[in-house]
Subunit: 462 residues, 2 copies
């Protein structure tokens, strides 16, 4: 349809069509057991994060704005009594699952895959029933799609200032929902086109509520892209690769092989990772090391600290060099705060980032004793820590690879503890236990939306 | 809040804050009468276009997708019996007002200003009552905002492949709605930030339904940006100018003076223009000239044409060089079709672009006799036409500046005819007359939403 389609595009493969064909054709049996298992871990981690963030002031502000515009209130805002239409519920769950900076990470691109994809799928499942196994297949299709598209444009795209969780995430949501509702190949191409024209999200928003808005709109917009395509709303059929399409307009790098090679044999979805701590991954080695030192020293000696010296990858100071944080969000961008609270309380969970703890006198005092040295030779998953006590003794800790890194992934048991620690604060221990069990049982559920309903406190769910 | 805010940004003025202050402070009396008058013409033209496009298959497909998700059905889809919540109505009216390629044009940037702005304002006015005069003030604020932002990044931004009506339009909608609901200066900055993170729309979509989706989502997303800011959802306060903000990420050109200089004294909103023909402006000189030739020759001699030769600006062939269009949308991208139907029927209205007329045997036959020569010396609003009849006689027409160009704007009477010609086809002559009168009377209305209700056929409005 487009005049530019008449241009010679020799050398550009049919990226959108090939990807769409793969998404449409993907069956549960095509996915190796270990990839499905990682998809399930992705889902469980996402449920815990969405419930963990459900009572955040960001969620309250969003609900105030969206509620007057909600349609049929059939879909659950995870962990809350409110229900919204599936599009708004997807938006809300995308926000809450990301707001604590505690969600999953595709380490190659710093994309957070579950927010856009799972938020769209589970919200729509409450309007259009689907089995847990089918939802998981759609989730793997969506995560694979967004991670491959992200690989094709990273790092140029991210360096330019795009929040890749929003910009690539919308394709993941469109692919996942399109797969779940059974789009044919042409409509899947349209869904990807409608997603491309809604791809957005700027890194300038980091440190504000608008950061977590990005996975929310990616979820909603990708869902609506698939539903519009289903309704016959057409679009470009080569939105990814066209000269004025997504990859050329939003990046100087376009590596089509990252999207096309090994589809169905190599799985990016299997490389997803889960944060042990509720902040950006660059600080994780410092927190991991400080918690280990605290365990070795004992709480009493922590009170005797005279100085702390960290040697870390230069990105740590570049991204999280804030010396005097005052708020929860600022605390997440302060390696000084993170190290202090890890040494004092052994904590890196959301409880380590409340406004109260960020302004706690003891945490602030210890923070002032911490120095951080940027060392370009230091791996980004590594750190060296030296603590000097008032008696002049020194104690050191070398972390070669932090917990949660690609080399040291969270175990199922650690995922369970993370889930419980954050969800219990919001919905209490009983609902948390029930929800965690239902989430892990996803593949056996005839109706996937059971998971959503299990997240609501009993007194309200009735 | 953002770590990058600590970077030295010497030399970058406070663009977002200054613009937000101006929007918040703008009063009706600050707007010169002729600027308000152009705002009113912008509004009237938009109402006619939205009604004219209301029954397009694009609107039907969108409604099929959106209706199950609509909230309180308080807002009118112009020209149709359906009602939706204000966000979805804004989306629909943004689509329908653009779908015939017949809406207004900010000639410096090819931005179509009314779709994002007026669609958001009138839809929300049905939930939050506002006078017509206040709506017009907000409309002028929104149009001024989006056109100035577009000027700051055009042409680089557009050349890169962005559909500027979507990408800059969302700021117009946020500014207009923010002004209408009375945001304070800080919340207006947040609204612009929330708009920046939703700025999207690719030129690759031209020729598909997704093109008109862009002003629709700009309207909805800008409206929700303002409403989220009102609800306390915060954002960057320098979304336009920050190193990883809108203008740097989405353009290589950033001319802040285009946004900041002459705010309140020079009015881009006064430079808006209105298309006499329902297709891209590059073909307008050809259509204008062919209609004039037809009037001079008479219908009978048109049947004797042996050859037609056009000399036009090179963009005409680059953008609309399609030789054998088969559909309405393809017809709009064919200078051959446009010249043929203008010579045969004297028509450039939506009736000149139906699937039937594009495939009409006589139109197709004459199309085959037309040659177009690209002439770099030809002004883009100009054309030379030479018609040779079967008797060997030649007839020429030189158009120095086409009707609808900056130098030859549509008169109010021509706007009225355009309004009537397109709206009467959809809602009939009586509703059209009533609606046209109410639209022109906007500034005297206590309740601006009267205009929306006046667009609905009587039998349904009851």
């Amino acid at each position: 349809m487009n005049a530019h389609h008449q241009e010679a595009d020799l050398g550009i493969p049919k990226v959108t069509a090939t990807l769409a064909d793969w998404i449409v054709g993907l069956q549960a049996d095509d996915i190796p057991a270990e990839v499905r298992r990682e998809g399930l871990r992705t889902f469980v981690n996402w449920v815990g994060c969405a419930v963990g963030g459900a009572r955040h002031e960001t969620a309250d502000a969003a609900l105030r704005a969206f509620t007057p515009f909600s349609g049929q209130q059939v879909s659950t805002v995870l962990g809350r009594p409110e229900r919204l239409d599936p599009a708004h519920a997807a938006l809300m769950n995308g926000i809450t699952s990301h707001v604590l900076d505690y969600d999953d990470t595709h380490l190659r691109t710093i994309l957070h895959p579950a927010g856009p994809v799972a938020s769209a799928l589970l919200a729509l499942a409450e309007m259009r029933p689907v089995s847990g196994a089918d939802l998981l297949t759609a989730l793997v299709a969506g995560v694979e799609t967004e991670c491959r598209i992200a690989n094709a444009i990273y790092p140029d795209h991210y360096d330019r200032g795009w929040h890749i969780t929003g910009t690539a995430g919308v394709f993941g949501a469109a692919a996942a929902v399109g797969r779940m509702i059974g789009l044919d190949a042409q409509r899947m191409r349209w869904a990807l086109g409608l997603a491309a024209s809604q791809s957005s999200g700027l890194r300038e928003m980091f440190g504000t509520m608008t950061k977590s808005f990005h996975p929310g709109i990616a979820a909603r917009n990708g869902m609506m892209a698939a539903l519009m395509a289903e309704a016959g709303y057409d679009s470009s059929e080569r939105a990814l690769e066209a000269p004025r399409g997504f990859a050329h307009v939003m990046s100087d790098k376009q590596d089509w092989a990252e999207i096309l090679d090994g589809l169905g044999t190599h799985w990016e979805a299997a490389t997803n990772s889960y944060k042990p701590f509720a902040c950006g991954i660059v600080i994780h080695p410092a927190i991991d090391g400080c918690i280990q030192l605290r365990d070795e020293l004992g709480a009493e000696k922590v009170g005797q600290i005279a100085a702390v010296r960290l040697r870390a990858h230069p990105l740590v100071l570049e991204l999280t060099g804030r010396k005097t944080p005052k708020t929860e969000l600022e605390g997440k961008f302060s390696v000084y705060h993170c190290a202090s609270v890890a040494l004092l309380h052994g904590d890196g969970a959301p409880t380590a980032f409340t406004d109260e703890i960020v302004n706690d006198a003891a945490v602030v005092a210890l923070r002032g004793l911490i120095e951080v040295e940027a060392n370009p030779d230091c791996h980004s998953a590594s750190v060296d820590i030296e603590v000097t006590l008032k008696d002049g003794s020194t104690h050191t800790k070398h972390v070669e690879r932090a917990i949660g890194s690609a080399e040291k992934p969270l175990t199922d048991a650690q995922l369970d503890r993370k889930f419980t620690d954050q969800a219990a604060l919001v919905v209490g221990p009983e609902v948390t236990e029930r929800l965690r069990a239902v989430a892990w049982a996803l593949e056996s559920l005839d109706d996937a939306s059971e998971v959503a309903r299990a997240s609501v406190p009993d007194s309200v769910a009735g």
